[in-house]
């Protein structure tokens, strides 16, 4: 009951602010609505018993990525972007793509509808909720998924180097 209510609230917030993200004229307003979406998604994670991920979502997305976004927007404070034409002429393409996507999703969900009813007694003992999911995530991250984990860390390193190189000032030597 509570969970369902929370789910509806969070999804409503998430979808409405997501729409606002892509329709706002002012980039900073978009960023604020993105923050709302991200927080709502963190809430959704909580209803799915993924506290650890919810925490990570807030720390990384809201505290990190979003702050970075706003930071860059402020750094290159441009007022004229607001007056410019905001949208592409690719509305048709977008509409078609969106329609195709919706159709696909509908089809897949329709196909899988017999799996929807929740398994009754078998999954009644949720292992994750009991042992505390941060520990479980940690353990499987460092055992089964060690290689992807390392690859991810290399990816991050590359991204750091890339970002530094990209935003480096041109000095006299260059």
């Amino acid at each position: 009951m509570l969970e369902t209510t929370l789910f509806y609230i969070f999804s409503f917030v998430a979808i409405v602010s997501a729409i606002l993200v892509i329709t706002q004229r002012n980039v900073v307003h978009s960023a604020i609505f993105l923050a709302a979406t991200l927080l709502a998604v963190a809430g959704i994670f909580l209803t799915l018993h993924a506290e650890f991920l919810a925490g990570v979502q807030v720390i990384v997305y809201v505290g990190g990525i979003l702050v970075l976004f706003v930071f860059v927007i402020m750094l290159i404070a441009l007022n004229r972007t607001e007056v410019e034409r905001q949208f592409n002429r690719q509305w048709t393409l977008a509409a078609i793509t969106a329609a195709v996507l919706v159709a696909e999703f509908a089809y897949v969900i329709f196909r899988g509808k017999e799996t929807f009813p929740l398994p009754s007694a078998t999954a009644a003992a949720p292992a994750i909720a009991v042992t505390g999911n941060s520990q479980l995530v940690g353990v499987s991250l460092y055992t089964n998924y060690l290689l992807p984990f390392e690859i991810a860390s290399i990816l991050l390193l590359v991204a750091i180097v890339g970002a530094v190189v990209l935003s480096k000032k041109k000095t006299a030597e260059d």
């Binding site: 369902t4 729409i19 892509i22 991200l38 949208f87 690719q90 990816l155």
Partner: protein, 100 residues
Amino acid sequence: MVPTHYYLILGAALFTIGVIGVLTRRNIMIILMSIELMMNAVNINLMAFSDRLQQVTGQVFAIFVITVAAAEAAVGLGIVIAMFKNKETMNINEIDLMKW
């Protein structure tokens, strides 16, 4: 208990919104934000299945997705800054130097 397909529908909706954002907006910052939206949609799906199957794998993959999102933001914003320094614009249509 919320049925899993509710989450899937939510994820699909967010993903579609993200796609529309990417395709229609001209402001590169908003395009990047839309990409973040899409990543979040993916994460919701992963999380929903993880909860449904009582397996932690989904959450681990969500962590990887967040990592990729962070990397993407760093590089993307680096590109934005570099681009802004040269062209003083955030409009993606004006960045066509690599166009053949």
